[in-house]
């Protein structure tokens, strides 16, 4: 079994809105022989708000998690795109700005910690596709998702700030994984467009506009489900679909799943274990053939 330190982040924590992502990751890991070990007592990465209002401390807040992960050894897996961006960014700034390094080192030392910059931050999708490989994934498929039309929605941060291994605007690695499950990724030009998730609370109109465009594009290209690897994207497109329908007088019913849930379905895992019912737009109809 390969071990990775694991940073679920608030979204995937036991009380978080994306907990089904966490459940399904664990289910899939059992099949793939991976062991993600949660960092003991990790703290919130702070994401945009913290960076925005406390930019001095935001690096230290992230670095605490990195320091804890460094003690465990191995690449750190951060499923949430925003956590991923902010944790990786901390690495980058620590290396680039001596000033940041100094302040972070001092802050960590005050808490009895130290960090040497050795932790590589990675996404679940990256680990699955590049460490495990699509061949192995395909070999674990019990229920081929033959014919299922899937819109792979990467969201903006998954692939963007040059940390990623895939193209920042036209990523393909989720599409390839979905294909390995037997499903058919549809053409989806908005696959890396922003869903507006970070401002859905304060700037609802702007975000709803973006969600509508996503739904439009996915559905008009024939998607039966949308899959994503970002808990914020999932929440946004799933929970606000009804609001979009109300505002734009549309009638979308596109289930939005975590790609790990889809993997779980293909691997024959139990529907409960995958948390399929936590989706607000029910996935039952689209997946009826496979569960």
């Amino acid at each position: 079994m390969t071990h990775y330190p694991y940073y679920p982040g608030c979204g995937l924590s036991p009380e978080g809105f994306g907990r089904a992502f966490d459940w399904s990751i664990k289910g899939v890991n059992a099949v793939l022989g991976l062991d993600f070990r949660e960092i003991p007592d990790w703290n919130c990465c702070g994401t945009v708000p913290y960076d925005t209002l406390h930019e001095e401390a935001s690096f230290a807040v992230c670095a605490r998690n990195l320091a804890l992960a460094e003690k465990m050894g191995g690449d750190l897996v951060a499923p949430c795109s925003s956590c991923y961006v902010f944790l990786s960014r901390t690495n980058q700034y620590l290396a680039q700005y001596p000033k940041v390094k100094k302040s972070v080192d001092e802050a960590l030392a005050a808490g009895g910690l130290e960090y040497h910059g050795k932790v590589k931050v990675r996404k679940v999708l990256d680990v699955y596709v590049n460490d495990v490989g699509n061949d192995v994934i395909a070999s674990k498929v019990k229920r081929n998702l033959d014919g299922l039309k899937v819109a792979c929605y990467y969201g903006c941060q998954e692939v963007r700030p040059i940390f990623g291994k895939d193209h920042p605007e036209n990523p393909k690695y989720m599409d390839k994984l979905v294909k390995a499950l037997g499903a058919e990724p549809v053409n989806f030009p908005f696959k890396s467009a922003c869903c507006g998730g970070s401002l859905i609370i304060s700037e609802e109109d702007a975000s709803l506009d973006l969600i509508k465009k996503l739904l439009d594009s996915a559905v008009s290209n024939g998607a039966e489900v949308m899959v994503t690897g970002c808990p914020l994207c999932q929440l946004n497109v799933d929970a606000y679909q009804s609001v979009v329908n109300r505002k734009y007088k549309t009638n979308y019913h596109l289930p939005v799943l975590f790609f790990t849930q889809l993997m779980g379905v293909a691997f024959g895992l139990d529907e409960k274990e995958l948390g399929l019912k936590t989706s607000i737009v029910p996935a039952k109809k689209a997946l009826a053939k496979f569960i």
């Binding site: 193209h167 605007e169 036209n170 030009p189 594009s217």
Partner: protein, 667 residues
């Protein structure tokens, strides 16, 4: 004779004196052993400065000179000449670099002054050991090799050939002409490219002093200025160049049709073809990768196709009547001897598929600059009509500047010609399709050249829409009825600070000019250097922009940096003049700072032979010692460092001299 050294510290105005305390340094030098005189002066390279040295040599009987000033790469020749003028052997001179490697890079005056002292001490210690060396002259081969047959290579070849000297013109493609041959008009005067270039191409083809080696590449180079030897690979053309009349019958018969590179893939050609109507040489060539017969042969099939050769007898269509087709031709290596080389290998266009959001290769009707050149060219795939992929005329066209240029993700530099060719495109569009709207999306209009700004103004008058902003994205995802079926270009009009969506039918990407992919390999063969941006490096960007660090090899045209035709041609003429100057001199000096083997010390182990990159060392079977061929040795010193017996002396870089210098900097 005891060394009697003169030391001269240059202020270089405030360039050195601003940081280094020059009078302190000269006081310091004056106290060093063997130093007879030490002075500091405002500009040592000026005439009065040089006279200072000359007078001291004559009056004080100096037998060694040290100048502490700029880099020896800048003024070593100047001061060596001054010594020589005063009757001192030029190798009894040494330079300390206290500008480029001291005053310009340090801020602490005291430390910089200390460093300058150390560098001067080192030079003084070293120069005491210098020995007079004599440079030898060898005769100069008057033949010249020009690599690359674009407008640069053509111009250089013609100028040299016209003055009565032989030129080998090497072109890797089947025809010369380069990029210019693809254009219809050229900015800013809108001359017809074919009208000004094809006569030159034809002249090249017929010139009795030019041997055209088309479809050929250089694979190896040895020797030195005046006496180079080059190995040339003449790739199989499968055509007998003497017999072929260029009638074109073979192409008509050939059943294999593939995209034509000369038309950027917008038109078709056959597997046997004449590259363009004005190709020089105007002969057929077979594309072995696509010819059915040659492909079959490679797979072991006996006799496929050969329609071009045999014709279709039952329909009374004869094949090549000149019997010029020869499927058995092989690649051939020829060796030529030349005295000078001009490199004119040009550029390639940046591949915009790398910029995903611009849609090239993904969306119909997004074209590159070169593709648009072919679309407007009367002999191009559309006979000069600007047409969309579906054959209709565009109603609105956007020309996008700086694609792959001025962009840290691709090339940092400005490509220098694309603003101007974009204006040219706009003009051609206004002329051919007066009702079509034309948008130029630019960051800055860079029109620095004779008549260039005037051309810009003319285009403004012609009603082109100039939008200051770089396009962010080209998409076919439309939002309104008027956008339907169009390409939408997203841009911020930065002058009105509004994000705009421009619906157009055609998008032209003004792509960067970038180094050709084989530049690195070519540089290696010719031992040239490249700049950070990948283009070939000149000897000095201002004072010697056509020479390289290898004597006898010159670079011209777009292989040095992006440039337009006027600059290219000027540079080509300059290089030709340099070559002709050397030819008329008839002789070249060869480096005196080379290796020498002391036969008494040589143990005959032959270790040095393998060390030498130029095969300059040979073994004397009789005396059982090694010997250096002075004409071949370039003085790298690798053998010196390797000789276990310490038998090899690297002249002017002897172990003692270098050791003395090291001791000096540590003093």
């Amino acid at each position: 004779m005891a060394p009697k050294i003169g030391v001269y510290i240059c202020h270089c105005g405030s360039n050195i004196a601003g940081i280094v305390d020059c009078s302190k340094v000269s006081d310091f030098a004056r106290a060093l052993p063997n130093v007879a005189v030490a002075r500091d002066y405002k500009y040592m390279c000026s005439d009065p400065g040089q006279n200072l040295i000359k007078d001291d040599i004559k009056k004080l009987g100096l037998n060694r000179v040290v100048v502490a000033s700029c880099s020896p790469r800048m003024h070593e020749p100047t001061f060596r000449r001054a010594c020589q003028d005063a009757g001192l052997n030029q190798y009894l001179f040494e330079m300390a670099n206290i500008r480029e490697q001291c005053s310009w890079v340090h801020t602490d005056k005291e430390m910089a002054t200390e460093k300058a002292k150390a560098l001067v001490a080192a030079a003084v210690k070293r120069v005491a050991l210098h020995e007079p060396l004599e440079t030898k002259e060898v005769s100069m081969n008057a033949n010249t090799l020009v690599i690359g047959g674009g407008v640069a290579g053509i111009q250089a070849a013609l100028e040299i050939a016209d003055s009565g000297h032989k030129v080998y013109l090497l072109e890797k493609d089947a025809s010369i002409g380069g990029h210019m041959a693809m254009f219809d008009k050229t900015f800013p005067t809108l001359d017809c490219a074919a009208c000004i270039l094809t006569p030159k191409m034809t002249t090249v083809g017929q010139h009795r002093n030019i041997e055209l080696l088309a479809n050929s590449e250089i694979t190896e180079l040895s020797g030195y200025v005046g006496n180079f030897k080059a190995k040339i690979k003449k790739k199989a053309r499968y055509i007998d160049m003497v017999k072929c009349t260029g009638c074109g019958r073979c192409s008509e018969l050939c059943p294999t049709s593939i995209p034509n590179e000369f038309d950027c893939g917008l038109g078709k050609r056959k597997a046997i073809y004449i590259p363009s109507p004005y190709a020089v040489p105007n002969k057929a060539i077979i594309d072995a990768k696509n010819c059915r017969h040659l492909k079959g042969k490679a797979e072991g099939k006996a006799d496929v196709c050969r329609l071009c050769q045999k014709g279709i007898p039952n329909r009374n269509q004869p094949g090549c009547e000149a019997e010029a087709i020869d499927f058995n031709q092989q690649d051939e290596i020829v060796e030529i001897e030349i005295g000078n080389i001009i490199v004119a290998t040009g550029f390639q266009q940046f591949d915009p598929t790398k910029i995903y959001q611009l849609g090239y290769g993904r969306l119909n009707n997004v074209f590159t600059g070169l593709e648009f050149e072919r679309l407007t060219n009367a002999s191009g795939p559309t006979n000069g009509k600007v047409l969309l992929k579906d054959g209709s005329e565009p109603k609105a066209v956007a020309i996008l500047h700086c694609i792959g240029s001025r962009d840290t993700n691709y090339h940092k530099y400005c490509s220098r010609v694309c603003c101007m060719y974009s204006l040219k495109f706009a003009h051609l569009l206004r002329e051919k399709l007066p009702d079509t709207a034309v948008y130029q999306l630019y960051i800055d209009m860079r029109c620095a050249g004779s008549g260039y700004e005037e051309f810009y103004e003319r285009l403004q008058e012609e009603g082109v829409n100039f939008i200051r902003g770089k396009a962010g994205e080209v998409t076919d995802l439309t939002e309104t009825p008027e956008e339907k079926g169009k390409l939408v270009v997203m841009v911020e009009d930065t002058l009105v600070r509004r994000k705009r969506r421009l619906p157009v039918d055609m998008v032209i990407l003004s792509c960067a000019l970038e180094p050709r992919p084989d530049t690195e390999q070519l540089a290696r063969i010719l031992t040239l250097s490249r700049k950070a941006d990948g283009f070939l490096l000149e000897k000095h960007p201002k004072l010697d922009p056509v020479a390289t660090t290898t004597d006898g090899i010159y670079i011209v045209g777009a292989c040095q940096s992006p440039k337009d035709i006027p600059d290219t041609v000027a540079q080509a003429s300059a290089a030709a003049a340099r070559v002709l100057a050397l030819i008329s001199k008839g002789k070249v000096e060869i480096e005196a700072a080379i290796a020498y083997i002391d036969e008494d010390k040589c143990a005959g182990c032959k270790i040095c032979i393998d060390m030498c990159p130029y095969k300059a060392i040979s073994f004397d079977e009789v005396k059982k010692v090694c010997r250096v061929n002075e004409a071949l040795c370039k003085g790298c010193g690798t053998c010196v460092a390797a000789c276990p017996a310490g038998a090899i002396k690297g002249r002017h870089f002897t172990t003692e001299e270098i050791m003395a210098e090291i001791e000096g900097v540590m003093a």
